[in-house]
Symmetry: C3
Subunit: 351 residues, 3 copies
């Protein structure tokens, strides 16, 4: 069988944020992902990256991301190294170096570039000291120094592969998503969660001309640069972008709902002087009624329920919603992670 | 070379307990294991699981199990993910969920089922809170929710792959094991050890019609359901099953002896109200004379010495016994782990 | 393409110390490494170890070593297991056994020998209790009991693969290194570092007939057996070996300089009664002026700057030296690790 034309079509490029790419490029990724998913189901061999090595550096733990990347590169004929910071000298920004414990990202990126074919990184929360943007800067620093592609497996600003998986799931039920109402809503969880998922969601939704409604309580604003980019996308691609502070209002007539926790940014730097986890927890604990239940789903226009996983069951959504096969695409989103990642790897790592 | 007929012959099945399978099925597994062992020694390619992914979830540490499963799937052309609970959100039973630290097994099993081809789990002791049966329930929960085969790499009730490796070693010296005397005996160790190995041993011994003698001090009884199943096996397959409280009496005229530590179940739930490790340790410390020495071996009928490893040298057995090439099959048992596991993987994961 | 003649040319041998091999053998390794490096750059397939398993046991963390070995065996068609001591029952010398926490190296080596094709080990510093030579004894114990090759990924006496990578880098700029001045110098770092790198450096330099100058402050002597072997090499291979206590004097007219920290051995056993880390730190803190700067480089004869990595920037050397493309071969040394290791693996693990 001939090698598909998408293999190597973005050779050498980094993948840090979906919005760095045009709608056409994202479409081609999602089309390749669809093909790879069919191939996988039909047990077609797809060894386009034979002999290629992916370095996976996890500052945070992960189930879906680690397993989908590791299985994905293997299904493409390649091999992944699972690197936890405790196994290496933690790769670090210049200002955070600790002698004999850390190594400059500049050095790590350059060394790994001589051994293999791509570097994938996950870093947010504690690992980025809860300074929003610091995780993203770590990934940018890798991209700056590495001569091989750098992939963002989720930082504190973006989660681009999740957004790709989500849009792949949307396209599966709405091949023409333009004009569909896509609600990205805050939902309560007791944990402290990064902004990456909602930020990447509103970007990819608007990039596909959807009518994106962002719903959250006061104080849960996304970052300004994301709001600005989402509005620009809406203008450019003929959709709309709106922010509301009422979950019920948002859900009304929605085609897709994505109720998901994130934490208020005003309790952590650079939006606050210090990291105030207790303050953030206390504040978000006022919004336990932001929960996706069957009653909420009844407000929608037969909407699909979406979540990146792991969902905090009983907090963000009730079990009967998450496990409702009639409208929940929770496991389909997880499944798509495997194939969108394979698509991007084949495109940027392929020859 | 054609694919052997055993590949895929048990496609999709879980492997949690040898006694879930008929004697014929176990025989076919052990025959395949013998073939795979010959192939390995003769450097014959056996890539029957090319492109297949095995998820290995280790709640407990391991040398033999981890390396034999990882090398085994690779020798079959596939790939294993080594997952320690600290790297993922620990997959957990419904009643043990801790928000943001754990993820429901129901979700983990369903997600991994979309990414790969089998899930193997090890869980006992601290990881199962020393409640006997809780580890086994964790594995059953995975089996319930996963659409791909689930393999028991040792829980707190059964260690089926060890039992297969042990029976493979027995068959190598006694192709017709029926009527041979197989002694599964307590032997002292200061550590707290699960019941899994002796329980799986008496089950597989009786399943092959052997005259199985279980020897232990008072208070070291195996679980009732195992004793009942061993007796049923003895009736069904024409062997016998007897419990004695004297190691020397048991060893007399034995063909195979398997002296191995386990801990008295009456100090932990559900056989005690609380987990009383100190009580268990103090109690078992009274039985330091349950040790396999050359004098003990002299009581047997030229018996083979067996142990699953790692043996506590100087406690369970003396070095001169473990390392006696004339009768110790300690390293052969370890070696067989590789091949019985390859056999089961080829049978349940193959197409 | 035919299999190169070096594959399997040292089948079954251990690789613990470059000086265990003749100059001719080391030359053949470095020539194979050069070929494998060309193959890698030209994307030539080199799957000479298909189906072979390497067990990598890391008592210490690592970036270069872990990733170059894991990527290396994969590029040769094989597979590596990454084993950290916390995942297994720590393999241990007879005198250090802790029941239920450790397993005898004698047992681990014999078991792994039944599952795969080579065992690679890194152990020094804390993991070897800061008793110089104890790490090396751990590796020797593995070699004694394993029937498959054992590879030294750095212990507290030798770092043979680093020395190979360094000599490969030297040959790339000086194909006839005989008579070139090679300075292995102490350079300050606040960390406690093993002797392995400088010891292996002076051995391989003298083995190639270079004029090796070892420079360090008083109290930083290498071990006597290394000094003796370096002198013997110098006599045998027509070079010279000299020890000086002045960094500037050493750098004068040098062709290659290798300024690198190690810690004074007289503060730890067997050269001291107890492990006195504070004493070692305090003592070495007097030598912060042993630093490689541009001024130091100006003393040399257009010398190449060398370091095994990770370099403690600002302590051992300034950034402008490390990152000076005109004379720094820092990243080339790191790159060569991949290929010298592939060469040795192909030679000892190949058929």
């Amino acid at each position: 069988m001939p090698t598909p034309s998408y293999v190597g079509s973005m050779a050498g490029q980094d993948f840090l944020n979906t919005n760095d790419y045009s709608q056409d490029e994202i479409v081609s990724i999602l089309r390749a992902a669809g093909d790879l998913r069919s191939d996988f189901r039909n047990k077609v061999q797809t060894q386009y990256l034979s002999g290629k090595t992916l370095f996976m550096l996890f500052y945070n733990r992960s189930l879906r991301t680690r397993n989908s990347f590791e299985a994905g590169i293997y299904q493409l004929g390649g091999h992944a190294h699972f690197l936890s910071p405790s196994d290496v000298y933690t790769p670090t920004l210049p200002e955070d170096m600790v002698p004999y414990q850390t190594e400059a990202i500049a050095d790590v990126g350059r060394v790994l570039s001589r051994y293999g074919d791509a570097i994938a990184i996950r870093v947010y929360g504690d690992a980025a000291k809860w300074v929003i943007g610091r995780g993203h800067r770590i990934i940018q620093e890798f991209a700056r120094w590495s001569s091989i592609p750098v992939l963002n497996m989720e930082d504190d600003v973006f989660h681009p592969f999740q957004a790709l998986a989500d849009m792949r799931a949307i396209l599966d039920v709405a091949p023409k998503p333009k004009g569909k109402k896509f609600v990205v809503s805050y939902a309560y969880s007791g944990g402290l969660k990064p902004l990456a998922v909602p930020q990447s969601c509103v970007l990819i939704g608007t990039q596909f001309g959807m009518d994106v409604v962002l719903a959250h309580p006061k104080g849960f604003d996304l970052e300004d640069h994301v709001i600005k980019a989402a509005k620009e996308n809406a203008n450019k691609y003929g959709g709309s972008f709106e922010v509301v502070n009422d979950m019920k209002e948002a859900f009304k007539d929605a085609d897709f709902v994505y109720p998901k926790a994130w934490s208020p940014k005003t309790f952590v730097p650079p939006y606050n002087k210090a990291v105030d986890k207790d303050g953030a927890s206390a504040y978000q604990n006022s919004f336990k009624d932001w929960k996706c239940t069957q009653e909420m789903m009844d407000l929608t226009y037969k909407a699909k329920y979406m979540h990146c996983g792991p969902v905090d069951r009983g907090q963000e959504a009730t079990d009967d919603v998450v496990d409702n096969d009639a409208y929940s695409v929770y496991f389909e989103q997880a499944e798509n992670r495997l194939h969108v990642q394979k698509a991007v790897m084949a495109m940027v790592m392929g020859a």
